[in-house]
Amino acid sequence: MIIFMLLPLCVLIHDEDKVINRENTSIVIALSLLVCLLPLGNMSSETNILLKYIRFQIIILILICYTIFSFFKQIMVKNNSGRKLGQIQK
């Protein structure tokens, strides 16, 4: 599954070839951390398998919440800018 995270990462980096887009950087950082540094969660001498799962799952939970939150934030920003534009036009 983790390797499929590379698909949005590749496309987001490709988009940067054409358009300058600062907001993509945070997603690129999050995805890069996920696909490159995830094994660090496993690097310890302890063998408690449950603890390993928790570390992975907490990272994923944070990223899922961030994904949904950033989407709603984007919609809010769009609505607000639309409203402001309307007020200026009035």
Binding site: M1, F4, P8, I13, E16, I27, V28, C36, M43, I64
Partner: protein, 342 residues
């Protein structure tokens, strides 16, 4: 910030993080004298390339579903059956007849890994995948530096290395998905059609890349979506006829798939909300020394799965950039996947 500074910055982020991971892994390997390897990768150190070698074994007798209850879709089994025919009979006749004895044979003289032909096929399987990644990525990026960083990053990231260690066919499913994502809007009409077939092939190998088909719906390309579904059905159903079970293998395959998903041992194993809650609840119970209503929490998690899946799916119709649409679609897979890493 000018255009080229930005290109450098964003692909550099990926490259730098990958490099840091590489350095830390190397130090840990040195300090532990390689013991850390089993911590990072699959715990069974004798069974490297298991998904490749055992899958070839399971196609002997052309009854992978009835006899071996394999989890691979028929298209994947067809590829392994093709490889099976390249292995000398003197080798394959010695193979174990049951799943347990097959696993138990690792490290013995009948292990596929000690024979020249299967081992060589495995090496080719890896080399071809690396070459395909190199070709596809180099065709996608206009900037050479970016394409080198991305090639290196795709081949040496944790998920891919884990898939190589397992010999899992997800590598090829990923490559085909990459073909679809990169070339679905190509100017060349043949390339666009190949991209659709690639998606169907990817889904035929691992099923869940089928979610990528939503990208076509988001772009309102309904005719292409229908064609992809037709390709997908062909690539999923037709390969069943290569095996003795024929279409009766279909319910066996789905039964095995759902049985595997419901194994209680794997209840922590997954990234859906119910699985995450099921795991996180344990330390909370230990800290508070209080019994929590596990069933209720899991039910809430399951409902949250559906709600967040619908939100993630709906996002694609509103978002404009393909990268972000993809990000949301890929998250959706998390709720349906069984295994953790790959």
């Amino acid at each position: 910030m000018n255009k080229y500074m930005k290109i450098k910055a964003n692909s550099k982020v990926f490259g730098v993080i990958l490099f840091i991971g590489f350095i830390i892994t190397t130090i840990c390997m040195q300090l532990s004298h390689g013991d850390i390897f089993a911590e990072i990768f699959f715990y069974d150190t004798l069974d490297t390339g298991m998904d490749f070698f055992h899958s070839i074994e399971y196609t002997r007798g052309r009854a992978p579903y009835e006899v071996w209850n394999t989890l691979y879709p028929p298209l994947a089994n067809c590829i392994f059956y093709f490889l099976f025919h390249m292995i000398p009979k003197s080798v394959s006749e010695q193979w174990a007849d049951t799943f347990e004895s097959g696993i138990g044979a690792r490290g013995t003289s009948i292990d596929l890994r000690v024979s020249q032909t299967p081992m060589f096929l495995f090496i080719c399987y890896i080399i071809i995948s690396v070459m395909l990644i190199w070709i596809i990525v180099n065709n996608y990026y206009e900037n050479k530096k970016t394409s080198y960083i991305m090639c290196f990053g795709i081949i040496f990231n944790y998920g891919m290395l884990y898939a190589y260690e397992r010999g899992n066919i997800v590598i090829y499913s990923f490559i085909c998905s990459m073909m679809f994502v990169f070339f679905q809007n190509s100017k060349n009409k043949y390339m666009r059609e190949i991209a659709l077939m690639s998606l169907a092939f990817a889904a035929g190998l691992k099923i869940y890349p089928a979610f990528l088909g939503f990208l076509l719906l988001y772009n309102k390309e309904y005719k292409r979506a229908i064609r992809t579904v037709i390709y997908g059905i062909i690539m999923f159903i037709v390969p069943f006829f290569a095996f003795q079970e024929k279409l009766s293998g279909l319910p066996i395959f789905f039964n095995t798939l759902f049985k595997f998903q419901n194994i209680t041992e794997l209840s922590y194993n997954g990234f859906s909300f119910d699985k995450i809650f099921n795991t996180i609840i344990i330390p909370f119970q230990l800290i508070w020394k209080k019994e929590l209503d596990v069933e209720l929490i899991i039910t809430v998690g399951q409902k949250l799965n559906i709600v967040s899946a619908l939100v993630l799916l709906g996002c694609g119709f509103i978002l404009k950039k393909i990268g972000k649409k993809l990000w949301h679609v890929v998250w959706l897979w998390l709720y349906f996947q069984i295994k953790r890493y790959i």
